[in-house]
Symmetry: C2
Subunit: 226 residues, 2 copies
């Protein structure tokens, strides 16, 4: 990402490798002091925040290559918890060390700004999804998002395992478990995918994409021009 070998080495020096974490382990909990960012090397992690009513809101699922914890810099404390979904390798990057480095290496500083900015842009996409899309569009968008992110990491974009439960998917997408389950069934009947337990095969990426875009061929939908 535009760093010379020497800089990469310096960055490498501050990264802590932790032994593998297992399903259910926490990277951090809501309220913890913020110290480090975490990078998923293999496996997956979910982040979630308690909602005032006692439930929780799943904020995201984090796949290999993705960074966790950037929302905690401002308040210097974590407002959400991060829980490992399957046996995972996670790197820890002490933020104060990272800050020292970025103030010395301008290109690294720029990367940090980009990473933070990207996180904002992704949240924005999610706002659009929760604010404007129906159940079908949400699940299609979710599946495509996983597909694309796995593909970016060199994994299969059309054949993968879901490390999260239907319940967690529903929570994340603002849908009830039952709705998620029914949609999986429907997508399968429509030949869009094959579902076997947590094993997913996407059979028609194009069709899924068109589902996400407009509400298919038919369903009316108010278009607010504000």
């Amino acid at each position: 990402m535009g760093l010379v070998a020497e800089d990469v080495e310096r960055l490498d020096d501050i990264v802590k490798r932790t032994r593998p974490l297992h399903r259910g382990d926490f990277l951090f909990r809501e309220g913890d002091r913020f110290r480090s960012l975490y990078v998923v090397k293999t496996g997956s992690v979910k982040t979630f925040a308690p909602s005032p009513e006692g439930g929780e809101q799943v904020l995201g699922f984090h796949l290999p290559g993705e960074i966790i914890g950037m929302d905690a810099i401002d308040k210097d404390a974590h407002a959400c918890s991060a829980k490992v979904l399957e046996t995972s390798a996670i790197c820890e990057i002490p933020f104060s060390r990272l800050e020292e480095l970025t103030s010395i290496i301008p290109s690294l500083q720029h990367q940090m700004y980009r990473l933070l900015s990207k996180e904002i842009a992704q949240d924005t996409d999610m706002l659009l999804l929760l604010g404007k899309k129906n159940a079908e569009e949400r699940l299609a968008a979710f599946l495509l998002s996983l597909s694309q992110r796995l593909h970016k990491r060199g994994l299969s974009p059309s054949d993968f395992y879901l490390s999260m439960s239907r319940h967690e998917i529903g929570n994340y997408l603002g849908l009830a478990v039952e709705t998620v389950s029914r949609l999986f069934t429907r997508f399968q009947e429509d030949g869009l995918m094959r579902v076997d337990r947590k094993h997913i095969q996407l059979l028609d990426l194009t069709a899924l994409e068109s589902l996400v875009g407009g509400s298919g061929q038919g369903r009316r939908q108010q278009q607010q021009q504000t």
Copy 2:
């Protein structure tokens, strides 16, 4: 914010003051190359993104003291548009100049990280709102958010004008205009606020806060423990 006078001056030097903008003016449009961050001095701005179906999603309302454009750093292009809601004074901060400064002034770099992080945390709150809260809770949260942000700027927390339309509020909160209107009426009947056109008076902040928290005294709601 922890800067010495000399640094403040340097920051001040790169800030461009533009003449007042008026209702309907754009700060930038979706697709524009990213060059600057914008700070609202007075007035208000809304940001919004087109949804694939042709409508739009209001992403936020920006009040004095707030920064706009941080989501565009990563892609070096704006993914949303920013439109002025009322006559406003806006400062422009060329990002490349800002980056030069932050690489020289560590405390400024830290502030930038905090600002970006705060934006992420705010989006996260919004995800919780759209994912878990009902119409009543959403509008109450919206009103309290405005109230708190205005108060932070030394303005009245309980008496203010809405520069955005009911339609825009609904769009932002994922609700229909009619629902927003009915809720304003209801809140008024319940003595929580007075509404006269765009003039708002919050009469019972405490009650509004309790509305946001749990679903009031009654309404059942599934609490997902995931």
